[in-house]
């Protein structure tokens, strides 16, 4: 299935933790400037799949991969992971700002990539915080520690921090699961705004969230040997109103998982 312009693609991608197969033969094409939600029961490999695109799985020893994963037709496994992560940003499940000031949190990425000029950094920080709809709330205390913010603000700070390195893709691993409903809604609105400039993949446990906030939905499930595989993938509307697979229908109607 091909939807618009393909940004990320996997071809018979399998992934192993040691002997344990976590993902089996995943073929998917993620369209540019859209929000793709990944749903599925716990342990079906959603997060593992997400972490493929910035190779965060590399940090775990004993992992191996088969098949092909590309970003703009470049094989990510042949790229330098540091360079790859420059193009593919990530927002984690729990807000994890550094124990540094708000300014230093956002400036961290650009500084790591060699931006030294104070004025330029200030401009990047403002642009990123505006992009994450946090600027108005924190512009007067950029020197305050990022950890002093509320949970929802911390998560938007983490999004600003990811935006600051100007990636093409933003991976979000259940970005709102640790937040209250109001903060969750703010994050969802923000994600809608971000898709204008970014390709977004969001892993979520919350099916309403996937239905509300995404353009495409991929449903993962685990096999009898617990390896995750892609059951169905398509426009969110269709997946939720007219799923082609029985498993998908049973899952989204809440009959298991």
């Amino acid at each position: 299935m091909r939807f618009g312009d393909v940004k990320l693609e996997t071809k018979s991608y399998s992934m192993y933790y040691g002997d344990f197969q976590a993902l089996r033969d995943v073929d998917i094409q993620i369209p540019r400037n859209a929000i793709t939600a990944i749903i599925g029961p716990s342990g079906c490999g959603k997060s593992t799949f997400l972490r493929t695109f910035n190779r965060m799985n590399d940090l775990i020893s004993g992992t191996s991969v088969e098949g092909e994963v590309t970003i703009d037709d470049h094989n990510v496994f042949e790229m330098d992971p540091v360079e790859l992560r420059f193009c593919v940003g990530m927002v984690f499940q729990r807000p994890n700002p550094f124990p540094k000031s708000i300014f230093d949190n956002v400036a961290y990425g650009p500084r790591a990539h060699g931006v030294r000029d104070r004025a330029q950094l200030a401009e990047i920080v403002e642009r990123s915080l505006r992009g994450a709809v946090l600027w108005d709330e924190v512009k007067d205390d950029l020197n305050k520690s990022g950890l002093a913010l509320s949970g929802g603000q911390q998560q938007r700070l983490c999004i600003a921090r990811a935006l600051a390195v100007e990636p093409d893709v933003i991976l979000m691993d259940e970005p709102a699961s640790a937040l209250d409903p109001v903060a969750t809604l703010k994050i969802e609105e923000l994600i809608q705004q971000l898709k204008v400039d970014y390709t977004i993949i969001i892993v979520t446990h919350n099916m309403q969230q996937a239905a509300r906030a995404s353009d495409y939905t991929a449903f993962f499930m685990m096999d009898e040997d617990r390896a995750g595989y892609l059951v169905e993938y398509g426009p969110t509307n269709r997946i939720f109103t007219n799923p082609q697979q029985e498993t998908t229908e049973r899952y989204i109607t809440g009959r298991f998982g």
Partner: protein, 333 residues
């Protein structure tokens, strides 16, 4: 075999519990009065245990206070500004003159160089062990093997008696057959650095390991390299623990005698400046030893001892203040 043993053990335990239940059920009528008797006895035991704990606490504190108090009270007799600012005269004949000024200076120089050598080395070694080496452990090949050796060595070194470090320093740095640095600030500082290196490495390792994994992930996901992550995120977050380790080592150097007895010499003259690495000297702790063993100036030994104790107390206060401030700052308060 072992599985079987475990299961039979759990069987017995179950039987016991079951047996108790039966007993309880059968003696239900006695239970109320029985529990009351039991309660009185338990209260008695409670009071006795509490009294014993209380007594042990008092005795322990009293012993400590006696040692510290005795030294401070005895030392206070000679403690005055002049004592702190006059150099010792040295020797048996002149034991009634002089103060301790040069030993304070020598101690400061010694601490400075020891930490300058051991601090960065220890912290970098800890970063290596936690951030780089840990993922190789359990593997096969030369580097994983070396890493386990290093880790083992650090653990052993932390428990080696200090005089062994002294002997090593004497043989390698002081003695004319090897480096031939003789008794000097540099011999003492480098040997002292060997002594505190395990302390710094272990404290730093613990502090670095306690830094949440999520910080590292966040940094790496932003395209920072491993070194940038370790240097800019992990190290600042681990700073309170690392500083505690370093200040503890300062205390260790200040109170150490055996190592410096065989490397620093013992002359009452201090090195001319902190850069005068080739001159010998005498630290405060060494001065206490020399005064007590080689002169009749026991009161001055007590005076120096009092200064030493006060120094250690101040160092501990400094640890508390620094780590509390840094922790508060990191938490954003």
């Amino acid at each position: 075999m072992s599985h079987r043993a475990a299961s039979s053990e759990s069987m017995t335990r179950e039987d016991v519990t079951f047996g108790k239940l039966v007993q309880l059920a059968m003696s239900r009528e006695e239970t109320t009065s029985g529990a009351r008797v039991n309660l009185a006895r338990r209260h008695l035991v409670e009071r006795a245990a509490f009294g014993l704990l209380w007594l042990s606490g008092i005795v322990a504190v009293a012993v400590l206070l006696a040692v510290v108090g005795y030294v401070v009270v005895q030392g206070a007799k000679v403690l005055n500004w002049e004592f702190l600012t006059t150099p010792p005269a040295g020797g048996l004949a002149t034991s009634d003159v002089g103060g301790m000024s040069t030993t304070i200076i020598s101690t400061v120089y010694l601490v400075f160089w020891t930490i300058v050598v051991a601090g960065p080395l220890g912290v970098l070694a800890a970063i290596y062990l936690v951030e780089y080496a840990e993922e190789m452990e359990g593997g096969t090949g030369l580097i994983p093997a070396l890493v386990s050796v290093v880790r083992f060595a650090v653990e052993i070194l932390a428990g080696v008696p200090s005089i062994i470090f002294g002997l090593f320093g004497y043989a390698v740095f002081v003695s004319a057959v090897s480096l031939g640095w003789s008794f000097s600030l540099r011999s003492a500082a480098v040997t002292g650095a060997c002594l505190v290196l395990p302390v710094i490495i272990r404290a730093s390792e613990e502090a670095i390991r306690a830094v949440p994994r999520s910080y590292r992930e966040a940094s790496l996901a932003l395209g920072a390299t491993k070194w940038q992550t370790a240097w800019k995120v992990v190290l600042p977050a681990a700073a309170p623990g690392i500083i505690t380790g370093i200040v503890l080592s300062v205390g260790r150097v200040v109170s150490e005698t055996a190592v410096f007895f065989v490397t620093f010499g013992g002359t009452v003259r201090a090195p001319d400046s902190v850069l005068d690495l080739t001159s010998p000297g005498r630290s405060m702790a060494l001065h206490v030893y020399y005064l007590a063993m080689e002169t009749r100036a026991f009161d001055k030994a007590m005076g120096t001892g009092a200064v030493l104790i006060l120094t250690i107390i101040v160092i501990n206060l400094v640890i508390n203040v620094i780590s509390r401030r840094l922790t508060a700052k990191l938490k954003g308060r």
